[in-house]
Each structure stands twice: as structure tokens, then as C-alpha cells.
Amino acid sequence: MKVASQDFLQQAHEALRAKDKVERRDLLGQFMPAARDAAANAYGDFDGLRAHMKRVRGHTTEHLAHYLQQFEEAAVAHGNQVHFAATAEQLNSTVLSICQTHNARRVAKGKSMVTEETGLNELLLKAGLEVLETDLGEYIIQQAGEAPSHIVGPAFHKSLAEVRELFLAKHKLGERALESVSDIVEEARGVLRERFLAADVGIIGANALIAEHGTTMLVTNEGNGDLCANLPPVLIICTTFERLLPRAEDAMALQRLLVRSATGQSHTCYTSFYSGPRREDDVDGPLETHIILLDNKRSDILASDYHEILDCIRCGACLNHCPIYIGVGGHAYGWVYPGPMGSVLTPLLTSLEQSHDLPNACTSCGRCAEVCPANIPLPDLLRDLRQEESAQQLKPARWRRGLRLHAWLLRQPVLYQRLTGWSMSALGLLGKRRGAFRRMPFASGWTSQRDFPAPEAGGTFMRQYAARKRRGGRRG
């Protein structure tokens, strides 16, 4: 997918002007955190589970080579073909060549953020294949020609009315009411089922790779992943090495964290484990299975100070809890991953130069880190990226100079107090009547949205305090 993160501010501006969408997101921002909190509280020691998972992940990355090898060997023993793709292009071309080997014409896809990241659909379409997204949300945005706005609910930005219009236009099914959510779901189901049966290749993602058994785990609510995996003769699983976990029970712990954090459920409708191609006595299943492990700069991230972002389990809680994500929505971020996790990942997976506004779209409020099931210190990582932004001189020079001058002044207390004492007294006098200024030189960012409150009359604290001390008065 093309990166449009450099236009974050403009995109955010447009997003904030669409009032109906703003209202929808505000509701999402109330509903999703409430659901997550209720589920986490009902679980009991959710924080203990988070800490446990953190240790498991730490152990896994420490012994990554070992577990990777164990996974590969076990997966191959089940009859899977395992591929490694260093770059997005490599993953895409591996998928394409598998499709071409089988003379495939139709591909059915389950929800996969990895293939969003690599822009797989575009390549397959260009090569003349028919690509069908089968997750309801993904299907909706595919029909609408849009990108996902949320990593869990890709079509959260669409209202029921919009989906209705879309389906009426795209599905030639004659007169019908299509008024309720269940009507919509029924219709999508009907349309999709037929096409599942015709698919030559199924493509899905994975929520966990289990090293001890060489199996992959997928968590869905619609069961479409299972149909993609079992009906077409060829299955391709597109994933990345940070999904790796040592044991099946670790995957179960992850599942408990994931569903509660993502949707507030205690279980999703389907949690499936895929071991490999159909065995002799099996009644169904694919004839051939491939697992592609994408790196795409992840090895670099692993070796960097940002390695904790690789613990992300893609639950979306940080998006739902981020007032900035809720304010501007996913599309404003301009790439595949939005919200706090996206503001860390996008600069690392694309380039900071293109996306350095994203780490600044943060007030360090800490709400994301508070709920992140993987205990990723997101605000710290974002601050580190801002430091890098500064080091690479990407920050507006005016800002950088101002901040550094201010920091320097702070270390010259006498000069600082003289300057501030004088200017605050002046401002205090000027603003005494109205109590605030509508405009203020050098502070247009502030005053574009708010008045600038005038300092209290009487001069700075330090000045008044010194005067009181001189007068010998102890009391304030």
C-alpha cells in the first residue's frame, strides 16, 4: 500500500470536518473501551496474564533461532512448505508464483494485515487473478475500494446506510429491503459462500505460530478463515516470525488476552489450528499448504531499541483507547497500521521521513500502554521516535530552535527570571480586562483553536516571592 502518512495533518483536518463520521468514532471510543474493561475485569488477574505473556515473548525472542527451527521442522514434517520472504516484494512474488504453478484464477482471502502491508492484492489483480476478501469488513472495503481504517474492524468507519447503498449497487440481486445488520450479513454470506467453492487458492494470516507442533492458530468471528483454509485445494498462510510462541498453551494464553482486548469477548466464535495438507483419512482440507514468513525490516527492529513493538498481537485496543485515533480515524494515518501501534510501526516499516508526524500525534497520555495486552511502552517508543526525528533534522527547524533555546534559558535562572518577569507583567497588564488574548505573536498554533489566557496580574511567582522575602514576610 502506498504511504500517505506525510499528509497526516491534512488528512486529519478533513476527517475532523466530516461530522457524522466524527460522531461514529466518538461512539466507538466509548463502546470499545467499556467492552474491553468489562472483559478484562471479569477475567480476574488480567494484568498477571499480561505479565506472563511478556515473559513468554521475551523468552521466545531470546531463543528465536531455536524456536524458528523447531517450528519449521515440525511444519515441514506435517507436509507444509515453509518459505522465508525478506521483503514485501518477495512475499508477493512467492504467492504469485504458487498461484501460477496451479494455474489459479480465483483467490479467496481471510483477513490478513501482513498482506495489506505488502500490498498483495494489487499485484495479484495486476497478474489477472480474481481476489476476493472474505472477512465481512474486508469485503465491504474491497467493494468500496477503500483501505482498512482499523486493524480489527477494517470497515468500522462505514455506517449501516453506507454498506446498504454499497451492496445494493454491487450485488445484482433485485429489489430487497436490506435494512438490518442481519440482512447485510446474510446477503454477504450468500454471495461469499458461492465464491468460496470456486476459489483455487485460499490465503489467510495467523495469530500465532506454535513451535512445538508446527501448527498455526487463527482467531476469527466469522469462520471465513476456515472456509478459505479448507475449501480451496491450495492454502497459503502469510505471516511473520513475531507470531512465534513455544507451546500450544502459550497460544491459548495469547488467545485469552487477544479477544478480551480486541472486542471484549471471552471467546471468539472460532479459534482454529492448522497443521498442514489433508492426510489420507481426512475428509477435507487443502491438498497443498504453504507458510510464508515475512521479515520486511523486522530483524532490524528486533535488533533496535524498538524491539518491543514486535510483541504487538494486533488487538487494536491501543487504537480504541487513543483519543487521537478516535478523533481523526484510521485513514488519516496514511498507511496500513493506524493509532499508537501504527505510529510506531509505520516509521519503522516505511521511513521516518515520510511519517514523522505520526509519532507527534500523541499527548503521552499513557492510556494505550495502560491497556496494551503486550505491555508495550508505546508512549516511550513514540518519544524515542521524536528524538530520532530531531536527530535526523526532520522536525520543523523553527520548533527545534525554539525548544533548544528554551531549554538553554532554563539553565540561566537569573536571565530567565528577568525575561519572564518583565514579559509576564506586561502581558498581565495588557490582558487584565479580558483575561485572555485572541491572538498572540509566535503562538499561532495555540491561538488558532483557543484564546491565550493572560497571566495573572502582579508579575511572575518568582518575582512576587522574592519581593515578599525581601519584605521579610514568610507567609504566602
Binding site: A12, P323, R383
Partner: protein, 244 residues
């Protein structure tokens, strides 16, 4: 420590804090050479510029038993972020400062307790905005409510979504003013809906930002730092209000 914003914009917060601490039996000094904790540079990623500021603060406050700050965010900076800036000897010194740094309301409820007040209850409907750093880094949530109850006889009328950021975020509010303005509006709408006439908070950054936005929108809300309310029925204008 008097925060830079209290020093420059709202000295009465500093004087109120001094009065409260003295009432609780403390001997209070504001060192002459104190300026600011260095958070603007730090949060904007200018870490190397923030380090010498932090060192100056550490040195300045070394002689004291407690460092009490009328701000959750500055207290969080000293307690949580300073130690992360250093290694070796300076880290030890930062940790020592961290251990004795307190946010004002927590200090007044856990270390030096305020005696029962002698004055009448505050006749006002008050709502409270929890600053994020205070809430998440310093564990400030029930302390200001408790103090408002005990000292002013006020039961806080809670904001819906009271754990959500108001959109100040230091330089964020000037770098992304539109998003910040939207967040301020959400907070102010909740404040109006709460039925309160006074919006109190523990961080001047949030309060100046909210007051500026409230003034722009012409909202009838009196915005004050909690120290002002606790120190005694304040008579001067609220933040961003003129003298009528």
C-alpha cells in the same frame, strides 16, 4: 517546586500551595534558581537539551527532605523520567530525587495531612479533570476528590470519560492544534453536561488549554487549579477570565 506555568501564568497556584503546605505543618522554601523541569524539550524528543536541565533540577533540590509539586505531570517527569535519562552516579541522584518527589494532593493526603478547615463550605458545583500523568504515573485520582470533600465540603460531579486526555499534551497542542481543539471540546462538553460551574484540575497545562478553548467558545465555566480552591475561597478571576 513551583512549576514554570504557575510561575509565569498563575502565581496564585504557587502561593496557594505554599499556604497549604504551611497549614499542614511544613517549612517551605522555593529555591531562587528553579525554573522548569525540562519537559517541553524532553517530550519533543530534544533529550540532549533536557538532560542538563534535569541535572540542574536534581542539584537544586538535593538539600530538601521533600519536593512537592502542584502538578502531576511535572512530578511524573521528576519521578519517572529523570532516572531514565541517566546512568551511573547521576542515575543514583535522580533516583534519590524521585523517591522524595510528591504531587501536592497526594502529599497532603499521605505525608503531611491538612487539618480540618475553619471556614465555610464552598458554594459551588465542581467537576474535576484528572491530568493523565498524575493519573497514570503518580496514582492521583481519589486524593483531590477527598481533599475537596474534606476541605471545601464539595462532592465532585464527575465527568463522563474522566480518564481520557484533554488534548493539551505540551507542544502537541500547538503542533496539532485542530486535533487538540477537538479533544478540548469533548472535555468541555462533558464538563458542561456535568452541571458544574467550576472545572478544577491539578495541572496548569491542561487548565490553560481548556480555559483558552472555553473562552473562545464563550462557555460559562470557571476554571481553577485545585490548590486555589483548597487554600481558601478564591476571589480573583478564574484562569483566562478578566476583571469585570
Amino acid at each position: 517546586m513551583v512549576t514554570c506555568l504557575a510561575d509565569l501564568m498563575r502565581p496564585s497556584v504557587g502561593f496557594s500551595a505554599i499556604r497549604l503546605l504551611e497549614r499542614a505543618g511544613c517549612r517551605v522554601t522555593v529555591p531562587e534558581q528553579q525554573t522548569c523541569c525540562g519537559q517541553p524539550a524532553y517530550n519533543s524528543g530534544e533529550i540532549d537539551a533536557a538532560v542538563p536541565v534535569a541535572q540542574a533540577v536534581i542539584e537544586t533540590f538535593e538539600p530538601f527532605d521533600y519536593v512537592v509539586i502542584p502538578s502531576g505531570s511535572c512530578a511524573g517527569m521528576l519521578s519517572h523520567h529523570y532516572p531514565a535519562l541517566f546512568e551511573g552516579e547521576w542515575r543514583e541522584r535522580a533516583l534519590a530525587l524521585s523517591a522524595k518527589t510528591w504531587e501536592l494532593t497526594r502529599f497532603l493526603t499521605e505525608v503531611a495531612l491538612l487539618p480540618a478547615p475553619k471556614r465555610a463550605a464552598l458554594e459551588a458545583a465542581v467537576t474535576y479533570h484528572d491530568g493523565c500523568a498524575g493519573l497514570r504515573e503518580m496514582g492521583i485520582q481519589q486524593q483531590p476528590r477527598q481533599l475537596l470533600q474534606e476541605q471545601c465540603g464539595v462532592q465532585v460531579q464527575e465527568l463522563t470519560e474522566n480518564q481520557v486526555c484533554c488534548g493539551f499534551g505540551g507542544t502537541f497542542c500547538a503542533r496539532m492544534p485542530e486535533i487538540s481543539g477537538k479533544m478540548a471540546d469533548d472535555k468541555l462538553n462533558h464538563a458542561v453536561a456535568s452541571g458544574a460551574k467550576v472545572l478544577a484540575g491539578g495541572d496548569l497545562g491542561c487548565l490553560l488549554h481548556l480555559a483558552g478553548r472555553a473562552k473562545r467558545r464563550g462557555l460559562d465555566l470557571e476554571i481553577r487549579h485545585i490548590a486555589e480552591l483548597l487554600a481558601g475561597n478564591p476571589k480573583g478571576p478564574g484562569i483566562g477570565e478578566g476583571r469585570q
